[in-house]
Point group: C2
Chain length 327, copies 2
Amino acid sequence: VIRPFSAARPHLPLGSGREFDRIRSIIQMLGERGGGLGDDCALIAERDSFLAISTDVSVERVHFHLDWIDLQEAGWRAAAAALSDLAAEGAQAIGLLSAVTVPAGAAEAELLEVMAGIAAAAEFAEAQVIGGDLSAGPIWSMAVTVVGRVGVPITRAGAKPGDELWVTGELGAARVALDAWRRGEEPSPEARARFAHPEPRIEAGRWLAANSVRAMIDVSDGIAGDARHLSAASDVEIAIDLESLPLGPGVMEAAKRQKISAGQFAAEAGEDYELLAALPADFNAELEFSRDCGLALTRIGRVAEGSGVRFLSMGRPIELGGFDHFG
Amino acid sequence: VIRPFSAARPHLPLGSGREFDRIRSIIQMLGERGGGLGDDCALIAERDSFLAISTDVSVERVHFHLDWIDLQEAGWRAAAAALSDLAAEGAQAIGLLSAVTVPAGAAEAELLEVMAGIAAAAEFAEAQVIGGDLSAGPIWSMAVTVVGRVGVPITRAGAKPGDELWVTGELGAARVALDAWRRGEEPSPEARARFAHPEPRIEAGRWLAANSVRAMIDVSDGIAGDARHLSAASDVEIAIDLESLPLGPGVMEAAKRQKISAGQFAAEAGEDYELLAALPADFNAELEFSRDCGLALTRIGRVAEGSGVRFLSMGRPIELGGFDHFG
C-alpha cells in the first residue's frame, strides 16, 4: 500500500462553524481511512517534491446565479476557487480536471462557455486541462480538481507566537457585489469583477513560500472564519486589527449601508480568494512583494501563545460571524 | 511551466457517440490549453513513475435513484466508478477526494452514509480519503477524484493487429438490475449487487499491466461503446463475437424479455466496470489470472488492421448501440 504524505501527518484541526462541524464528523467517521485532512490541499510525497491536490465544487444557485454572471465567468470562478487552494500551499499549478453537470436543454455552446472559463483560469495559472467528466443534472455544477507541485508545502500549521499576520490584495469587494445583486441592483464594474473574475494567487503564494512564510490559508470563507482554521491548525492565538484590513472597492459604502464598520464587513466577507499568511516578525519585504506580484501585502495582526482568534476594533474585542456555503 | 506527461502525448481519439461529440468539441476549443485528453486517466510524470488521476461525477436521478439503492451504496458506486479508471490505467490507488453536494434538509447522518460508502470503496482499493469539499445543492451529487501511481501506464492506445481482446468478470447484470427497477420490480440480489456494489478492478488491472497487456479501458459505458474508444485510440479494427461475452446473473432472461440476444444485451449494457484488454496472441495465462484475481478472464475478440468495431453474432455482422449518460 502506497501511503500519501498525509498518512504521516495528523489531520489539522479546523476552526468553528457549522460546515466544519460536518467535516469534523466525517473525519471522525473515517478514522484511519482518512489521511492528512484539514489543510488546503492533499499532499502526495514524490522523491524531491510533493504533489498538491485539491477539489472544489461550485453549484448554480448556491455559489453563483446566472442572472449575476455568465457561464464563462462561472467556469472561471469555479476553477479559480480550486486553484486558490494550490496558491495557499505555495504550489505551482500543473493541471486541472473538471467534472461538469449540465442541465437538460443546455446548448452545446453553453457547455463550451463554461469550459472556456475553466480553461482561461487554468491558462492564467500556467496549468493545462488534463481531464474531466460530463453528466446531465438539474443545474450547472462544476467540480474542479487541481494538481500542483511544491518543494516544501506550506500548510495551515506552522504559525509561531511572535509571527505577524499578513493578507494579500484587498478584502470585501466580492461581498459588495453579492449584496448589490441580492438587493436587485447591478454592482459597480470594479466590485463585480472581484466576484466574477477572482485571480488565483499562485504567484503570490510561491513568492511567500520562497520568502520565509510559516503558515498560509486562502481566504475563501472570510478572514473571520479562515483565521480560525489557521489558529486551530497552528495551535496559536491570533489577533486581527479590523482597522488594518485592506478594503476593496465599494466596501466603505456597503458597510455604512449595513451600519457596521468597514473592517467588520471585510472580515466577514467570503469569496475573496486572497492569501492569509503568518510571517516572522522581522519580515519587511512587502514592497518587494508588491513589485514582484503586482499586489498589496498588508500586515493585519499578530500571532501569540494561546488559542482562538481575537478581532479588535479600535483596540477593543469584537465578535464576528463567518461565511457559510451551507447558509 | 511544469508540463504534465500529457503535454508530450497527443490527445487520444474517442469513438462515436453524442457524449463523445461534446467532449470532442471541448478538446477542439481547448487547443493547447488541453493536455493528453481522451484516456482513462490524466498522467503526471514523476522521476520513475507516473501519477494517474481521474475524476468522475455521480448524480442522483441520472446515475442512481434512492428508491433503488441506499446512500452508502451510492457513495460506494461513485467512488468505485472513479477507481475503475485507475484500474484501466494499470495503476495502484493512493488516495481519493470527494466533492459532495448535499440536498437541503438532508440529515448529517445521511452525509455520513454517503461518505462511509466512499470510504469503504477507498479501503477496498487500499486508498485513503485525502480531501474533499461540501456544498448545498438540489440533489445528491458526488464528484470523486482518484489518484494512483503506475510505473508504465496502460493507455487505450497500443492494441496491435494480431492481438486478442479479453474482458474481466461478467457483463450485463447491472443492466438487468436497472431494467427491473425501471419496470417497478425489485431485481434479484445477485443482479442488484452488481449495480449497487461494483468492485473496482484495481488488482486485475495491475495483474494485466504486469503480464504484457497492450491497451486497456474500463467498460463503464458498455463494450459496444468502449470498444470503439479502444479501436479509435489504437487505430485498429476490433471484431467482437457476441456469443463469447461472459454473461452476468439474469442476463439470459432479461435479454429474452427484450427479444434480443444475450450477447447484444451484455454488449450494450453500461455500469459494469470490468476491464477490456488487448493482449498478444500468445497470451494463455487466463487460469493464472483467475487464480490470482478471483475473477474470470474471457477472450471475446480480435484486433486487426483497419478501423472501427465489428460485432459478430453467429459469425454475421450486427449493429449495436452504446450507453449514454446524457440519454
